[in-house]
Symmetry: C2
Subunit: 321 residues, 2 copies
């Protein structure tokens, strides 16, 4: 297998690369090579097989043609402009999230090699007046440009798969927590930082109440699901190749209780609750009552409890872990 990760420099791309290196195989076959492509040259990952880092601008068809070659057998398309930036910079969001996906699919059509393409969509495709709970056959009514662009990517992936140009699989990622790294300005940033910073001995602000519910998945389970996603049998996907990735709904209070159980009561004392109406206005519009029946049936998994999410952060990501 010759694997390409577009967006190979990001959090998920790097973790996925390390997981593939650790496994050494995909779909029952040895991995012969791995290419990490991103707008910047992604950090190298060492392996028993050749790993290459390369730059790729998915808005540019020629750049995409350089990254995807005749020998590419599995593509992960993780690259995207994130929610806040796509909302602020409309053209940039459409050119990367919509046209970028289309460029990848057109390149694959041109090659005629029908690779596997794993596409990361997002639960941001859900919204509007669609009744809860959200099932596999609920209408996608995104309320952000990012969500609209991801929903368009899904339609493209399905159509190019139906036509036989690609063997596509799309997964709507839950909010990933606990994300490693530095705090960022994303509206969802607190959903990781209120655990990560206290676990690292630093203070963090929670801008919503303890009873705020949302839908979460750990980075570790996300990566495992992305590997399984490439390994699913196309025949099991049916007429819609995109689905929710499993996750679980927790309130902030439940998540803090989980942290207390795993790490003792000290970290939670570093969380300061401070209403932030502008953040609440965004995150309270998000959907959380999601039922990923199809993905669960296909063997993808959520974390058992948020205690797992905390443990995985400590094991995988805490500085010095």
């Amino acid at each position: 297998m010759d694997v390409l990760i577009i967006g190979g420099g990001g959090l998920v791309g790097q973790k996925l690369a390390r997981k593939l290196v650790e496994r050494g195989e995909l779909r029952g076959k040895p991995i012969d090579s791995l290419v990490l492509a991103d707008v910047f040259n992604p950090p190298a990952v060492s392996a028993d097989f050749p790993v290459e880092s390369t730059t790729c601008d998915i808005t540019d068809a020629a750049s995409v043609a350089n990254a995807i070659t005749e020998k590419t057998s599995v593509i992960y398309l993780l690259a995207a402009i994130v929610s806040g930036q796509a909302e602020a910079e409309l053209e940039l969001g459409y050119s990367i999230n919509m046209m970028g996906a289309w460029n990848v699919l057109e390149r694959v059509r041109e090659l005629g090699t029908r690779p596997i393409l794993v596409f990361t969509s997002s639960i941001a495709v859900y919204g509007g007046e669609v009744p809860d709970p959200i099932h596999d056959h609920s209408f996608l009514n995104p309320q952000t440009s990012y969500g609209a662009q991801k929903a368009i990517g899904e339609l493209l992936l399905n159509d190019y798969s139906r036509k036989g140009f690609v063997d596509g699989r799309g997964f709507r990622l839950p909010t990933i927590s606990v994300r490693p790294g530095k705090p960022n300005a994303a509206a969802s940033g607190f959903m990781s930082s209120i655990f990560r910073e206290p676990l690292n001995g630093q203070e963090a602000i929670c801008p919503v109440d303890r009873d705020f519910p949302h839908f979460y998945l750990s980075p570790r389970k996300c990566i495992e699901n992305l590997v399984k996603g490439a390994e699913l049998d196309a025949a099991d996907l049916g007429q819609n190749r995109c689905m929710m990735m499993p996750g679980r709904m927790w309130t902030i209070g439940q998540m803090i209780d989980a942290m207390n159980k795993v790490a003792g009561p000290e970290p939670a004392k570093l969380i300061r609750f401070e209403d932030q109406p502008e953040i609440q206005a965004i995150v309270k519009g998000w959907r959380f009552d999601l039922r990923p029946e199809k993905a669960v049936k296909l063997g993808l998994e959520a974390d058992e409890s948020f205690e797992d999410n905390i443990r995985y952060y400590l094991e995988d990501d805490r500085p010095g872990a």
Copy 2:
């Protein structure tokens, strides 16, 4: 009101133009001008106000900029590559149905004039394993490239409306019957020709059984709904500006009975039943159990019975009518 019909040379565009001329007003204001734009110069329509015919290639941003000007207050975007051709010519379908819609929306964003945009989607957005009946909040899982492109157009329309660049309204058209004109090669062609040809004294072939069900609307009601669609209050549209246009489900047998009631028993004798497996393979995948609750609530209408569809053809479209 300065109205532009993109696709003004087609069946729906021409009928809509004549309806607007007859009304002379839209949204309670006089129509000051009407522009009919299409890939060919559309036939002229005479009116008390200026009517202009112009060519417009929606795949070309400069051509779109010529057609949509600062004074354009209502745009009908009817232009599309139809189902069969979009399936056969993938690039053409995406460039007109997807990129064309995006070019129109980008032009409007550039102008900053926030016109009303009425977009014709299609019930071809429905398909896959989505359970019957199809409601307003059912998942769109198109099984044709045409359907995928229309679903993408809807996502774009919703996003650009949400961002305030346009006041968009999208309507998923049922199969239009009885369509005037010559027989064509569309898989749905027989759904009009088995009435039109016999009513004109000619033989027609029906490739499916009498119990084949589908979802229909007359051209007359379609035009009335497109006018109402422009007149709806944006506040009533909620967070999804696209909806099914009302129609009714009939079997071939029910439709023939309706023709017998309106036109006597002679025309139906000219229908020859002849199984055509290749046509059946396409049309039997189409969805017909559709519940257009939102559009009905907003005042859009289906035909009362298929007798109306027959009568409207005789009154509006039969040669010499």
